[in-house]
Structures are given as C-alpha cells and as structure tokens.
C-alpha cells in the first residue's frame, strides 16, 4: 500500500460514512426523493459539491501541487451526444431502482446484500458499453 492508496482509502471511508449518514445507501429513501416526497437528498449532492468546489477551485491557489505530488486538474469533459444519451439511460435506471454507483457500493457496508444484484448488473452494463465501443 502506497501513500496514494491509503489516502484514497481514508477519503473513501469519509465518503461512504457520509453516504450512509445521509440515507443515500437506502434505495427507499432515494426513491422517495425522486418521487418528490422528501427533497432532502438535494442537500447531499449540493453539500458534497460545495465542499469539493473549494478543494478544486480555491485550494490550488495556495498549493502548487497536490500534497503527495501529481497535478491539480478540474474535472471537465466535452459535451457529446453520448453524455446526454448516457444520462437519460442512467436516469431511467436510477429512477427504477434507487441505486447509483457510489451509493450501491457503500450500501454493502450497511448489510444490504440484495444490492449485490444491482452491482453485478452494473458490471454487466459497463461490459455492454465496452462491447458497443467501436474503438
């Protein structure tokens, strides 16, 4: 284990603890958000994005490189048809099952064994995406 992997593990622990604390790991709570019965979930993504906004936009003004080396690079992707078509397909899956990738992985830690089915299916979906990629 190098320093990078240990740091990622520790950051992941905060991430997973936060997801479980917020209820994101419970598909029923996610679905009640998407059915507009409980709008609290907007604060999960909002709160996380706000904190991360400072890390991505403010911290690099005072720190030339990341503490363990490497480079600061904001996450930008080019807009393409695939980004939007993919988002539509993802939206159907999220709305149908209440699972998204991070929350499904974290959900395992809450004892939610049923979500293994969803995670297995996500791997199959990612595999099918690879089959369709002509590159």
């Amino acid at each position: 284990m190098n320093k990078q992997n240990i740091t990622v593990l520790v950051g992941g622990i905060f991430f997973g603890f936060g997801l479980a604390y917020s209820g994101m790991t419970k598909q029923e709570i996610v679905l009640s958000f998407l059915q507009l019965k409980d709008l609290g979930l907007i604060f999960v993504m909002g709160g996380a994005a706000l904190v991360t906004f400072f890390a991505v936009n403010v911290v690099p003004r005072y720190l030339k490189t990341p503490l363990l080396g490497g480079k600061f690079k904001p996450r930008r992707a080019l807009l393409s048809r695939n980004v939007i078509i993919g988002a539509i397909i993802f939206g159907v899956g999220w709305g149908l099952s209440g699972q998204c990738p991070g929350s499904a992985v974290a959900s395992l830690g809450t004892g939610n064994i049923a979500v293994l089915v969803g995670l297995g299916a996500m791997f199959v979906g990612a595999y099918l995406r690879g089959l369709l990629d002509k590159q």
């Binding site: 990622v8 997973g16 479980a20 994005a49 990341p66 695939n82 299916a121 979906g125 990612a126 690879g130």
Partner: protein
C-alpha cells in the same frame, strides 16, 4: 418537503465532500464512482475499451476507493445508525434491470451522481451540469411513472 429534516442530508453530503476533497488535495485524483466498473473489468477483459492506459493506471486506487466506501458505511452502521444492519425491500428485478441501465448509462455518459454531480459541478463543468439536469429529470419522471402504475416496493 423535508419529513426527516435536512440535517442528515446536509451533514452526510458535507462528510462525503470532505472525503472527495481530501483525496483531491492530497493526490489530484477525482474520487468519482462509475469508472470503477470499467477499470475493474480491465483485469479480466482483453478488449481495447477496457485496456486503455488510463484504466490500467486507475484500477488499483479505484479498488481502494470502493473498499473505503464499504468500510465507511459499515462504520456508520456499527456506530451512529439508529436502525443498524438493513436490507432493501425494493424488488430484485428492479435492482437488476435498474443496475444494468445504471452501469451502461453512466459509462456512456462518462459520469454518475458523483462524477457529474459532485466532481463535475464542483469543477464548474457545463457538460456535467447538462448531464445532471438530464439524469435528475429522467429519474424523477421514471420514479413517478413506476409509482403511478403501482409498482411497489
């Protein structure tokens, strides 16, 4: 609008953001989730899509990230959780079909709730903003249609 209050959501979101920020400040990596499926498959599949250099580079730390998520949620369940271990009652076919679409869609879109929703928005990416608006809108519509036709849980 907020039957459970906003405290758990806001605190949980901030904790998740601290995790993502810690990783970014220390390593410059974006702790996003959906790439994990593709990079993990690169251990088993020869196809070029999976064998891209970036997948090989990222696959180890992404496994650590996923492990961290599970440990973090486990720690919460063992300490602060009012309900302890828990299992969803959402029907298996919904988890399976939904998961399939989530896996395919997030990889085609190159981001999910964390990639576009946290790291992308925090990076002020307009691409991610469009993606978030689309997947949120479609998910809200889908969840309501499912409820309307009487599928529960």
């Amino acid at each position: 609008m907020f039957p459970l209050g906003i405290e758990p959501y806001l605190v949980g979101g901030i904790l998740a953001g601290i995790g993502v920020s810690l990783i970014y400040i220390a390593t410059g990596l974006h702790a996003t989730q959906s790439s994990f499926f593709t990079t993990t498959l690169s251990w088993f599949l020869k196809r070029k899509h999976f064998q891209k250099e970036s997948n090989i580079e990222e696959r180890t730390w992404r496994l650590f990230l996923a492990t961290g998520l599970v440990i973090g949620a486990l720690l919460y369940t063992l300490t602060l959780s009012p309900t302890g271990f828990w299992n969803t009652s959402v029907q298996i076919w919904r988890l399976a079909l939904g998961g399939l679409l989530v896996g395919f869609g997030t990889r085609l879109s190159q981001g999910c709730t964390s990639g576009h929703g946290i790291s992308g928005l925090a990076s002020l990416s307009t691409t991610s903003l469009y993606a978030v608006i689309v997947f949120m809108g479609v998910a809200i519509a889908t969840a309501n249609i499912i409820q309307l036709i009487g599928v529960s849980p």
